[in-house]
């Protein structure tokens, strides 16, 4: 496939002028891989790549050499002659060889310096524009998780609890989440639209601005207008709905022998697999989202196995690749590891042991509490996402736990805060 056909001139012209060949050896596979996946990138990533390429292309030969001088000096000391070093793509084996080099840390330092200079010169203005946007990370803990909101405080020192005006019974109708996302029932019996649907319907939304990432299917059922048939106002990643995809990947991974070369071979095979038939429609129909999910499962971090790890790492990768404006996550419940199969962690416990699955609410709650914190840290790590407000909602407790910038209006609210009032605050924060 000649991906150059789909590239904008701002990238294809520098490529035709031999830009990649001029880069240091360890930069070539990265840039090549980024270009190869151009058509599968979110708008944010495409803008980023164009800015980087244009900046490099605009440097004089002296400036170009000066930028990469430190990297080239370290590379000269490293043993990069291995055939594992592909110029076209980054491989696990090549990464391992780099990491084992005694010059790995100096190399990392020089690479960071290069990117700091590129970002400062080529992206500073755009980063400042994006950093002025108010963003929201809404994390939902379902009633099945016995998580005391107060337990989040020790791990999350910059967070605050706010009491909600909401009955304690978990079976209240509508649910707290429904009350927040859909508002009061209208006279004709319809629910919503809530603030999130309003926001997603605004004109200037890009692909990757709104994400729903969940363990089950509750968000999809609650917000069909965002992700229903023919709708693409939000990206939906549901661990449950991706079951066929996950299990097919696990089968491949299980076949891996203990070698980095084999890991690369399997990774290469998985990158080329036709996966459309395993995808739910909201993913299979959009190649950008489909390839995002493929990359998510390839990067592991437990994404194929545990729904809460999937939710957290999905959020982290959404932040890294799309700089979302709103991410709504719902955590879930996993089963306890079964005797003996717990060591064979890549086995599907349901097929590996006839013992019935036993839910692990306490363990799932511990996982979700920590991974919610990580999702927040991952959002906030990016300069463009500094104005992210994080709100944790507990379906079994009348509290919200929130973190964010000093001017987030929730801080000024008198307790208890009604869900409609919270929805209004979030609406004004976003729209």
């Amino acid at each position: 496939m000649d991906v150059k056909l789909n590239l904008p001139p701002s990238i294809s012209d520098p490529l035709n002028r031999g830009l990649v060949k001029k880069l240091p050896r360890t930069f070539q596979p990265y840039i090549n891989q980024e270009i190869q996946s151009w058509q599968f990138k979110f708008p944010y990533e495409q803008n980023y790549l164009q800015s980087v390429i244009s900046y490099l292309d605009g440097l004089s030969p002296e400036q170009f050499e000066n930028l990469f001088l430190g990297v080239r000096q370290v590379e000269a000391k490293m043993d990069l002659g291995s055939p594992a070093f592909s110029e076209r793509e980054q491989t696990i084996e090549a990464a391992s060889i780099l990491a084992r080099s005694p010059y790995y840390l100096p190399w990392r330092e020089e690479v960071n310096k290069v990117f700091d200079r590129i970002h400062g010169a080529a992206l500073g203005e755009e980063q400042a524009r994006l950093a002025a946007i108010n963003r929201l990370l809404l994390l939902v803990f379902p009633g099945a998780l016995p998580l005391d909101p107060h337990d989040l405080l020790p791990n999350w020192p910059d967070g605050q609890l706010k009491r909600l005006d909401w009955p304690k019974e978990t079976r209240a109708q509508p649910s707290l989440l429904e009350a927040l996302l859909k508002g009061k029932r209208q006279p004709d019996g319809r629910l919503g639209p809530g603030f999130l649907e309003e926001f997603a319907a605004t004109q200037d939304r890009n692909l990757g601005d709104v994400w729903l990432i969940e363990s089950g299917t509750g968000l999809r059922e609650l917000l069909p207008g965002l992700v229903g048939v023919g709708q693409s106002r939000a990206i939906l990643l549901s661990f449950e709905r991706l079951k066929a995809f996950r299990e097919a990947f696990l089968e491949q991974i299980k076949s891996m022998r203990k070698s980095l070369a084999d890991a690369d071979a399997i990774s290469h095979r998985l990158r080329g697999l036709k996966v459309e038939s395993w995808c739910p429609e909201e993913i299979g129909n959009n190649p950008v989202i489909r390839e995002f999910v493929r990359a998510l499962f390839l990067s592991n971090n437990g994404t194929q196995l545990f729904s809460n790890a999937f939710v957290e790492w999905g959020t982290a990768q959404a932040a890294a690749h799309a700089r979302p404006v709103v991410v709504v996550c719902e955590f879930g419940l996993r089963s306890k590891p079964k005797p003996f199969t717990s060591v064979a962690i890549f086995e599907n416990p349901a097929s590996a042991s006839p013992l019935p699955s036993v839910p692990d609410p306490e363990g799932s709650a511990v996982d979700a509490g920590m991974l919610a914190y990580y999702a927040w840290l991952e959002m906030r790590r990016h300069p463009e996402c500094r104005r992210t407000a994080c709100v944790c909602l507990f379906e079994n407790a009348p509290y919200v736990f929130a973190a964010g910038t000093e001017d987030f209006p929730l801080w000024k609210e008198t307790e208890p805060v009604a869900p409609e009032r919270l929805a209004s605050i979030l609406r004004s924060w976003l729209i």
Partner: protein
């Protein structure tokens, strides 16, 4: 098959048989644990035995640094050799300089059944038992045993044969695991330090079976570390080796994103390490003459790192590189906490010296508190 438990008779065959040394050494190397989940104000709850029962009587190094590659095979082989190893991460090559096993066997003439390593981590291979050093190498290596790999193979074979129902029945599960030991396709796990024989030595088979039986029928969690512990204890009772290295790795469930399972792994290590020390105190071969050292391979990545925090161990932060070390036993002259920074590679030459040897090719220093 198997080679695993040492295919040949476990008798002294190299360096001439000398009298057994009076000292016993147990080294426990654990998977990655951060200080915030272990020796910290909030982490103490996860290690009640280490912090409450053992710390007051220990020589404790509060700042031990891993300056090498923070992958399993490289970290463990760096500890065992006293040099920062930079070999294949998945154990396809041996360490490049001699291990503690080799120094001790070559210089003191210890017999083959005196030096063992029992390991949980799947990233290890039998290459961890001996280096590629020309003057040392396999003839002076350790017996290397991977009980967790045995368990994994048993689970996989049971599933392939459609016997998964047996995994729900203790007696049948035991039979499934034993059938792997007696099978003919198990040498891929690599316990071949002693050669190429294809029958499990009967003197070794019994302890393994005993360990499996106790593992399967105990009410303790059926984790890989639990089985590693049982096999280690059986080896202590059967062979009373002078040098035993035990590696626990349940904490590595962190890679799959479960914080609760990671904490569960830390609590297992706390309990199993304590029980191992109790065994050393009650076993007459070990009582009053054993030094036991406990040290993680590394920490884990910090919260908020771009490597996803506790799930991984590849950042260049102190959270990942700074760990601790605890030394227990009568050989320790005076319990105390040493805050002076030391390095993981200092352990091998220190322990070699304690056992009366010289780790001649190590770049590590000797820790005066251990050899005093």
């Amino acid at each position: 098959m198997v080679g695993q438990f040492a295919a040949r008779k476990l008798v002294a065959s190299l360096g001439g048989a000398r009298s057994r040394p009076d000292r016993r050494l147990i080294v426990v190397i654990t998977g990655g644990m951060r200080r915030q989940e272990t020796f910290s104000a909030r982490g103490g709850v996860n290690i009640p035995h280490l912090s409450g029962d053992l710390l007051p009587n220990s020589l404790f190094y509060s700042g031990v640094r891993n300056d090498g590659v923070t992958s399993h095979f490289n970290a463990i082989s760096s500890i065992l050799t006293g040099n920062w190893q930079r070999v294949d991460d998945w154990g396809n090559n041996p360490p490049k300089s001699p291990t503690l096993f080799e120094y001790v066997r070559r210089q003191t003439g210890l017999a083959g059944d005196e030096v063992w390593m029992v390991a949980s981590n799947k990233a290890l291979t039998s290459q961890i038992g001996a280096s590629s050093s020309g003057t040392y190498g396999t003839p002076y290596g350790a017996n290397v045993v991977f009980p967790k790999a045995l368990l994994l193979t048993a689970v996989e074979e049971a599933i392939q044969k459609g016997h998964q129902g047996n995994l729900a029945d203790h007696d049948k599960a035991e039979a499934e695991i034993e059938s792997v030991i007696q099978g003919s396709d198990y040498e891929g796990l690599g316990w071949n330090v002693f050669g190429e024989a294809h029958q499990l030595d009967r003197s070794v088979e019994a302890p393994v079976k005993n360990a499996i039986e106790r593992f399967v029928h105990t009410n303790a969690p059926a984790t890989g570390d639990q089985l590693t512990f049982f096999v280690a204890v059986e080896i202590m009772r059967r062979f009373a080796p002078s040098l035993l290295v035990v590696n626990f790795s349940d904490v590595e469930a962190a890679h799959f994103g479960s914080y609760s399972m990671h904490l569960g792994g830390i609590r297992n290590i706390d309990r199993l390490t304590y029980e191992l020390w109790q065994e050393a105190r009650s076993n007459t071969e070990y009582r009053d003459r054993t030094l036991m050292v406990i040290m993680p391979e590394f920490g884990r990545d910090p919260d908020g790192s771009n490597t996803n925090g506790f799930l991984n161990h590849r950042s260049n932060d102190d959270t990942c590189r700074m760990i601790w070390m605890m030394c227990l036993g009568p050989p320790i002259a005076r319990p105390r906490i040493v805050d002076r920074p030391v390095r993981q590679v200092d352990l091998c030459p220190s322990l070699a010296r304690w056992l009366g040897c010289q780790a001649t090719e190590s770049t590590g220093g000797v820790l005066a508190e251990i050899v005093a």
